[in-house]
């Protein structure tokens, strides 16, 4: 006979979180400690040293008294531990204690900073504060987490989401982390855009900076230079259109032609995943730069003087189109294949010709895919940082301008914030336009019923140009990747063509010294840091992505639409914006993590979370909902169901999410470039540094090595996923 949890008076989960809260409050250092894991603080005066003291100790010593009210919120839950879950007092106490504790902790963190009160009105209200506080540490982290989950357990006990503690906690957890690590930094950045030099905020000061000629100038129309905003917009629209058209051409060849080497064409989709974006830019320099292969050949043949024509708009456009076409291709394959063949066959039997079918049926049905591909190309181009930096010349775009505003001599945070706001405005605008354009029309043509038809071939008038374009572009891509490989083994490009492994040796030298193996290559440091950080970031990325996907596909709760919109919105935030907003938000208490490895890990988790969400949603919608339900009726709770039924069935999706978040973390540059520090340098930012020093050989050799490492990672994934596929459901009928 089953015993209802709502009547039991033992709450292991509740006790766990109460204990966590107390450990955070009474045992661990409340404020941030450098090198926490060396545990030196244990021997170094803990717990009485004010730097390392737990909150409880600080209060008893009469310091940081504003931490004291939280004690109430920690004591209150103890009083209801023995009550049943269905008791209204139980729920009320947990909700009040959790909400008060969480709210107080956040409020004191934001309200009291390095210089006492953070806001003038607080000082006016309470008088000046003689004390100050630094960034929060593990003690605060545990306590705030405990408050959050006490709150969600209280909410669940009140009957929300069917009284399910796991689901309520998952929702609360995801909302909290997305709010802290996506919306809080963005809000901080918006605020910084209004900051004046005196430390105040002013709307009047915002507009002159906002309508600055360097952002919105239209000089290029009359032969001068245009503002970065117009440049970025123009470039992004061009790249969006070009990549979409090229991607469509590739997708058509793959699905609607008798082309025989389709598998190798599909391999193209792997390229953008494993290639750091700016590597294409480097190859373009090798080809078309001042001493590039093509430039010098053409110059000597035609007797012209070699020019720097490629630096600027043309170079960036070529590089981005090369780099992002495979992304458009990846999106469009799914869409072009998804158009149900029976629609096209129906049109055939209704006497439409091949060209008419393509124009009236196939193309309109691909519309959402085209919009998606364009949006991706547009956002990627807007956010791309590496290619404009390498190839931009005098062609200013927003992402590089933001970078120079932060790291350059001008160090102007508010200018960086304003530029980032403009950039964010463009991408969110595109995101909104796309939704608006697609509207509420349903374009779903895959019904889940068997569809035995085949796609008709392209009309000849279309096939010939498409073949031509695909052949040309594939050839170009091959040449580009060939150049990367070749460039890495050439002494000095354009000057000394002798072959050498010098660059690889400089970067990846290993010596056998007295103390054993010594990694003496100059790249090892950043290489291992990158691998370490990417490895640490992968599991939380996959986890938060899958949990979010689970909530979106499997649960119903109040405010789900808003929840969905919030998570989708992070798709449209460019990495550059994330980077800038992170340094603005996390450079000062309450969360002070710039310069640490942690900030890199966190930025990767939230940059790549959409990948995990997408993978999770795609594979979870393949699982029949009755699997969950039958587990529930068999007496498992939702957490046990998630663990015993859903996770094992999602193993391929989990693996994919892990590998892709790892690989994306290895190749990312736009957010990373703002967040690296001397101690935590990443491979991509190291390479960019080499490029800025004109050390192309080393940069290209390092990039090549990265490409091979990631090729290996993706290959390993293919191998593993191929094996686990056996366990998937095969013989279930279609449920309705």
């Amino acid at each position: 006979m089953r015993k209802a949890t709502s009547e039991s008076t033992s709450h292991p989960v509740l006790i766990f979180w109460i204990v966590v809260g107390w450990v955070g409050y009474v045992l661990l250092p409340w404020y941030g400690v450098e090198d926490f894991y060396s545990l030196e603080w244990l021997a170094d005066g803990w717990p009485l040293d004010p730097d390392y003291g737990p909150a409880a100790v600080l209060i008893t010593m009469g310091q940081k008294l504003w931490l004291a009210p939280m004690l109430l919120a920690l004591v209150a839950p103890l009083a209801v531990m023995r009550r049943p879950k269905s008791d209204p007092v139980f729920a009320r106490v947990l909700v009040v204690a959790g909400a008060f504790g969480f709210g107080w902790l956040v409020a004191q963190g934001l309200g009291i900073g390095l210089r006492g009160f953070a806001f003038g009105w607080l000082e006016a209200l309470f008088g000046p504060l003689q004390d100050r506080q630094f960034g929060m540490g593990y003690g605060a982290l545990l306590t705030v987490t405990a408050f959050l989950f006490l709150l969600t357990q209280g909410i669940a006990a009140r009957g929300a989401v069917k009284g399910d503690v796991f689901v309520a906690s998952a929702i609360g957890g995801v909302i909290a982390v997305v709010a802290i690590f996506v919306f809080f930094p963005i809000a901080k950045m918006l605020l910084a855009a209004f900051a004046t030099e005196g430390g105040g905020y002013s709307v009047a000061g915002f507009f002159p900076k906002f309508i600055d000629g360097r952002i919105w100038g239209l000089g290029c129309l009359s032969g001068g230079r245009c503002g970065a905003a117009w440049n970025s917009l123009f470039l992004a629209v061009l790249v969006g259109v070009l990549t979409t058209l090229l991607g469509l051409a590739f997708a058509l060849v793959l699905t609607r032609s008798g082309f025989r080497f389709k598998r190798s064409l599909r391999a193209l989709t792997v390229l953008p995943i494993i290639t750091p974006p700016f590597v294409i830019g480097l190859a373009i320099i090798l080809l078309f730069g001042l001493s590039g292969a093509v430039t010098t050949t053409v110059a000597s043949v035609l007797g012209l003087e070699a020019t720097r024509w490629v630096y600027g708009m043309p170079g960036v456009l070529i590089a981005q189109t090369l780099a992002f076409t495979p992304i458009a291709f990846l999106v469009l394959i799914g869409v072009v294949e998804g158009v149900s063949p029976s629609m096209e066959e129906a049109a055939q039997t209704l006497r439409a010709g091949r060209w008419q079918i393509f124009r009236t049926v196939s193309l309109p049905l691909m519309r959402p895919g085209l919009a998606n591909a364009f949006l991706l190309g547009f956002i990627e181009s807007m956010a791309d940082f590496g290619n404009p930096l390498v190839l931009g010349g005098n062609f200013d775009v927003l992402s590089t301008e933001i970078f120079f505003a932060i790291v350059g001599a001008q160090y102007d945070q508010s200018r960086a914030a304003i530029l980032a706001v403009v950039l964010l405005g463009f991408t969110l605008g595109a995101f909104y336009l796309q939704r608006f354009w697609l509207g509420r029309k349903s374009y779903t043509t895959v019904t889940g019923k068997g569809d035995a038809g085949v796609h008709p071939a392209m009309p000849t008038g279309l096939a010939l140009p498409v073949y031509g374009i695909v052949a040309l572009w594939s050839g170009f891509t091959l040449v580009v990747y060939g150049m990367i490989l070749y460039g890495s083994v050439v002494q000095l490009w354009g000057v000394d063509d002798t072959l050498t492994f010098k660059h690889y040796l400089t970067a990846f030298r290993i010596d056998w010294g007295e103390n054993g193996l010594r990694w003496t290559g100059s790249a090892w440091d950043s290489f291992w840091t990158t691998v370490l950080i990417a490895t640490i970031a992968a599991p939380p990325t996959a986890a938060i992505g899958l949990v979010t996907a689970y909530l979106l596909t499997r649960q119903d709760f109040a405010g789900k639409r808003g929840f969905e919109f919030g998570t989708m919105l992070s798709f449209a935030i460019p990495g550059t914006v994330i980077g800038v907003s992170y340094i603005m938000a996390f450079n000062v208490p309450p969360i002070e993590i710039t310069g640490t490895g942690l900030i890199l890990v966190i930025s990767f988790v939230f940059r790549n979370m959409p990948v995990g969400v997408r993978a999770g949603i795609a594979s979870m919608s393949q699982l029949d909902k009755s699997l969950d339900e039958s587990s529930l009726t068999l007496g498992a709770n939702s957490w046990q169901t998630f663990r015993a039924v859903i996770l094992p069935l999602l193993r391929p999706a989990i693996l994919a999410a892990l590998v892709y978040s790892f690989v994306r973390a290895m190749t990312a540059i736009s957010a990373v470039i703002f967040l690296v520090s001397a101690r935590y340098d990443m491979a991509t930012s190291y390479i960019i540094g080499r490029v800025e020093n004109n050390d192309y050989g080393l940069a290209i050799a390092y990039s090549t090595a990265l490409i091979f490492v990631m090729l290996a990672a993706v290959g390993l994934l293919q191998l593993l996923v191929g094996r686990t596929e056996i366990g998937r459901r095969t013989s279930h009928g279609e449920g309705h």
Binding site: A4, L627, G635, L649, S731
Partner: protein
């Protein structure tokens, strides 16, 4: 030997409503009582609320208003995990990554059984459904009928107070259906289980049930034993849904005691009045209860419109002054032809009076 025993309990709905969104009613103030140890079928067309009702018993949907009792206990607010109810799903919902034995012992794991005890119970359950020796197979290696039995065993071994079936036969082919439904009925009767069974197939419902609840538009249209529903439908909907029925508009001319005399054109027929007063009414007649005689006679004059040979009998569409009726005749040796003039009359038992059409 660890056996499977029943802990059957009754189910009671008190004015239960379920509203989706703002105003989509899936259940509208339903009162329902399922006695312990009986098999009750929820029957109705798709969208009538029968599956929602079943899922509310399981706790997969929580009610918008009203109360649900299992045994004497109010379970209205309990989620599925905490209710002592198991369910066999339409798609079976076997976990594809677990073997048959792991599937069957899945629920036992969460009910506090030791490993060995759970294994023995699971094997007893598999024995009960005739799948001994299939322990280590994966669901994908079983036929549809075998998968269905695993799903039944998985639900049975928990010895639930109530066992729920959601259209369990709809994924089986026609021949297997009859056998499996007999097996389900047999297990239910031997173990004395309380079973609530959802189907849209009236023949299935008639065959397995102690009691049938016919649902329409999120409410109960009628409940009763299979015989009551078939022989004394409360209204036109039930008459037509359970076994086909011809609905013929009639006039009740006299009522004497329990017997009414009705008139259709010139023909009059006497039958139980079922509480109806004189005036317009409808006569529900099963196709097999219509007598067709060649030529003119005592009855309603009609003409054969269509005649179809279906092997065991002939099916006729017959046109009379009041409309067309559908009739069957066992006599395949001497069929009527299209255009033949016939006389319609009714069998002594079978036709029933129902209130006139509301619309």
């Amino acid at each position: 030997m660890t056996g499977i025993h029943a802990k059957a309990a009754s189910v009671r709905f008190e004015k239960v409503s379920k509203v989706y969104g703002r105003d989509v009613k899936a259940a509208d103030s339903i009162d329902l009582e399922v006695a312990a140890g009986t098999l009750v079928t929820l029957l109705g067309p798709s969208g009538c609320g029968k599956t929602t009702t079943l899922r509310m018993i399981a706790g997969l949907e929580l009610v918008s208003a009203g109360r649900i009792f299992i045994g004497d206990k109010d379970v209205t607010k309990l989620p599925a995990t905490d209710r002592d109810v198991s369910m066999v799903f339409q798609s079976y919902a076997l976990f594809p990554h677990m073997t048959v034995l792991e599937n069957v012992s899945y629920g036992l794991k969460f009910s506090g059984f030791g490993k060995e005890e759970a294994r023995q119970k699971a094997q007893a359950g598999l024995g009960l459904v005739g799948l001994k020796g299939y322990d280590s197979r994966l669901p994908s290696e079983l036929s549809g009928g075998q998968q269905q039995r695993v799903a039944v065993a998985r639900a049975l071994v928990l010895e639930p107070q109530v066992l729920l079936f959601d259209e369990p036969l709809s994924n089986l082919d026609a021949k297997l259906r009859r056998r499996v439904r007999e097996e389900i009925r047999e297990i239910q009767q031997t173990l004395g289980l309380t079973v609530v069974y959802v189907t849209h197939d009236q023949e299935e419902a008639l065959a397995v049930s102690d009691e049938i609840v016919v649902m329409r538009n999120a409410a109960i249209a009628q409940k009763g034993t299979p015989r009551e529903l078939y022989e004394a439908p409360a209204d036109a909907f039930v008459a037509d849904f359970i076994g086909e029925a011809n609905l013929i508009p009639v006039e009740i001319v006299t009522v004497e005691g329990d017997t009414a005399t009705v008139r259709i054109a010139d023909y009059s027929h006497r039958l139980p009045s079922r509480g109806l007063a004189t005036g317009p009414a409808q006569l529900a007649v099963r196709p097999s209860r219509i007598r067709l005689l060649a030529g003119a006679g005592d009855g309603v004059a009609a003409v054969i419109d269509k005649a179809t040979y279906v092997g065991s009998r002939f099916e006729y569409t017959v046109r009379a002054a009041f409309g067309t009726v559908f009739a069957t005749a066992e006599d395949v040796a001497h069929p009527f032809g299209i255009g033949d003039a016939v006389t319609i009359s009714f069998a002594a038992s079978g036709p029933v009076l129902i209130p006139p059409d509301q619309s």
